[in-house]
Symmetry: C2
Subunit: 409 residues, 2 copies
């Protein structure tokens, strides 16, 4: 799916264009021309060459246009829901108590194993379409609620189905090492991940992830899994230092991982290591918000020169958040990022975390993923939390949500 479209009347165009003076490379009174799904021209409308006129076009009436959001960390495919557990936590039960009573992640594993392929796909596609409607044009999706080879494979196949059936681009990650399956011996489980799951899942995934934390995998176990993933051609990323400081961020840097995610307990030393390694910090403010815990030190990481991305962590246990606009608001209000930093992290930062340099910005050569805001400036995203500000979503030059082109009206 790809199209050609001219977008004019842009009051504020956020280009994130490398080389421009400000972080967002904002251009006033702008236009963008997309040909065959790829941006061919972007700049002040007064400078638009005539060759780009004459085809399908929309005038957005002075609204702001931003790159499509790139949500670089989600668990979009799952069975069941855990709303009851959410309510129990608000009444004071701890996650540990809920886990001991058979809830927590193991409840989702059981529900995911029970779910039919068609239900897994339909539910994940519905989530993906809601994400698309709120401006997300690329989404990473992890396995990790199977914990057996068959279900891990089914989850990654479901992710591929969502990619094929919806306009959103899905980037699959293998997360067999999410937690040790209940009733399994720890070493046996690790051997299963490395010896059986990885060979079966690697052809279906682009990245290998491990949840390294208290109650999950040690840093040494994470290293074993990620190195095995690398041997199967999967780039590493890590759930790191969310619940405690274990040293997982430092491992991410040592391995040159694409990203270290969560980082609620990251230190300035971790920040320096991530910056040196070029590993992206993927911050997930929806998780700390939903868990009522302290957010990751986003301000510190940004100021230390780390490349920061923002993502939803969409999952049924600790962050059932689908909206990147809400994540941008949380990054500002809970982590102290500026609106420009947060928007950059939710677009360009996410693309860098996924090692997809062709998106998260708007300029010649970028894919034509644009979001028209029903607002004059990107500032309105965090300024008006909870309001649906997405007017139109354009994916590879085709309007997939919102306005119709002039020709169709």
């Amino acid at each position: 799916m790809s199209g050609s479209l001219l977008v004019t009347g842009i009051g504020e165009l956020v280009t994130n264009s490398p080389g421009s003076g400000d972080l967002l490379g904002a251009v006033a009174d702008a236009a963008v021309a997309i040909g065959d799904g790829v941006v061919v021209w972007a700049g002040p409308e007064a400078d638009l060459p005539d060759e780009h006129r004459g085809g399908a076009s929309i005038d957005v009436g002075g609204r702001a246009v931003i790159p499509g959001f790139v949500d670089a960390h989600t668990h979009l495919v799952f069975g069941g829901d855990r709303s009851d557990e959410f309510a129990r936590r608000l009444r004071g039960e701890s996650y540990r108590q809920i886990l001991a009573a058979g809830g927590g992640i193991h409840a989702t594993v059981a529900a995911t194993r029970r779910a039919s392929d068609s239900d897994l796909i339909a539910d994940a596609a519905a989530r993906a379409l809601r994400m698309l409607a709120s401006g997300t044009t690329t989404v990473e999706v992890k396995s990790g609620y199977g914990l057996d080879t068959a279900t891990e494979v089914r989850m990654l196949r479901a992710a591929a189905e969502v990619d094929a059936a919806t306009p959103i681009d899905v980037v699959p990650t293998f997360l067999g090492a999410h937690v040790v399956d209940r009733g399994s011996d720890r070493d046996d489980y690790l051997r299963l991940v490395v010896g059986e799951m990885l060979p079966a899942c690697a052809p279906l995934a682009r990245f290998c992830d491990v949840f390294s934390d208290e109650g999950a995998f040690t840093v040494e176990e994470a290293r074993i899994v990620l190195e095995a993933g690398l041997a199967h051609g999967l780039r590493p990323r890590i759930h790191a230092d969310q619940l405690s400081h274990t040293g997982a961020a430092a491992l991410a840097a040592r391995l040159g991982a694409a990203s270290a995610d969560h980082l609620d307990h990251a230190t300035p030393e971790d920040a320096a290591a991530l910056r040196e390694a070029g590993t992206v910090a993927v911050l997930l403010p929806g998780a700390s918000f939903s868990l009522r815990s302290s957010p990751a030190p986003g301000r510190m990481l940004w100021d230390a020169g780390v490349t920061v991305a923002l993502a939803t962590d969409c999952n049924p246990g600790t962050s059932y958040v689908e909206s990147m606009p809400l994540v941008v608001a949380l990054a500002c209000l809970e982590m102290g990022l500026t609106p420009a930093e947060a928007l950059w992290g939710a677009t360009r930062g996410g693309a860098l975390a996924l090692e997809m340099p062709d998106r998260g910005w708007i300029g010649p050569g970028a894919i034509g993923d644009l979001v028209v805001l029903d607002a004059p400036s990107h500032l309105h995203i965090p300024y008006r939390p909870g309001t649906a500000l997405v007017d139109t979503v354009i994916k590879r030059g085709e309007i997939v949500a919102g306005l119709r082109p002039e020709a169709d009206r």
Copy 2:
């Protein structure tokens, strides 16, 4: 505008019905019959009398149904926006610095005075319709950005226009004593409020409000204004103890005010006084969220037996929030209310704060304001923050957003 409609297939019906065992009076597998805009029957669908069948009906397929949200505190009518000020605060400027530089509330006063009647009405109606789409069926609207008699009157007329032009019910409040107009003598301004604004505005309002806090009006000044309002037939409500503890909540209790709003610095003694007086505590978690300040002690107030309402405080400076679902999530995650308490506060609590006993619940005699959630349970509202979970909005028995009745499909 009012209609007759039968709603069947309700998986979970939140009635808030007085006398039922649990706070929300939830009924499984329920139906609701609305006749001429008023609920005539609600209960288990198996018990539905035949007399209520045969007219327009919708089957909501197992979804949850709640009473329409009652947003009891907004500043919906205003000119301009203050997104730039929002960004400056995130970069570290204080509200005091922004105020000194001509920003803050005085920027909105200037923009509101400049705005044409038609722009004021159109912008406020657009906000009201977005609120309606997110489930709000009744909204309180304050004046207070005029600070001169002519503009205060224009604001209240704009609120009446929004009431007439949209399905949402607008409840008007006079807030001439929002802040002393810039350049005015404090005593002169109070004389203007009481001697000229009140007589002009009272016929257009139901309540009189005062912002009593540091930098605004003292408790003694608030008493003078509210007693003058009472003499004009306006019931009192107060912006109380938001920025500091001034004793305004205690004044609200002494006057038997309908509500004391904000209460970020309320004490257990204030709670006891509010409970004794039957004054509703209207909590505004969108404001503390947007200001990055500590939220009001919602848990303490609820546990002290105070009637708690939740509202958006929608305004261009400190809480540009239109979504009651986000407010419910913030009340849970930032104030520690349970999902049931927060939902009750956002519906029944709001109705009590506005002294409108005919709404905020679902049962015979209540007006037919219902919201169908795209979820099986009310728990999903705070569990899935930022996701648009409103499937259909029914106002006085008419579908105003979402699904069409069977007959029309």
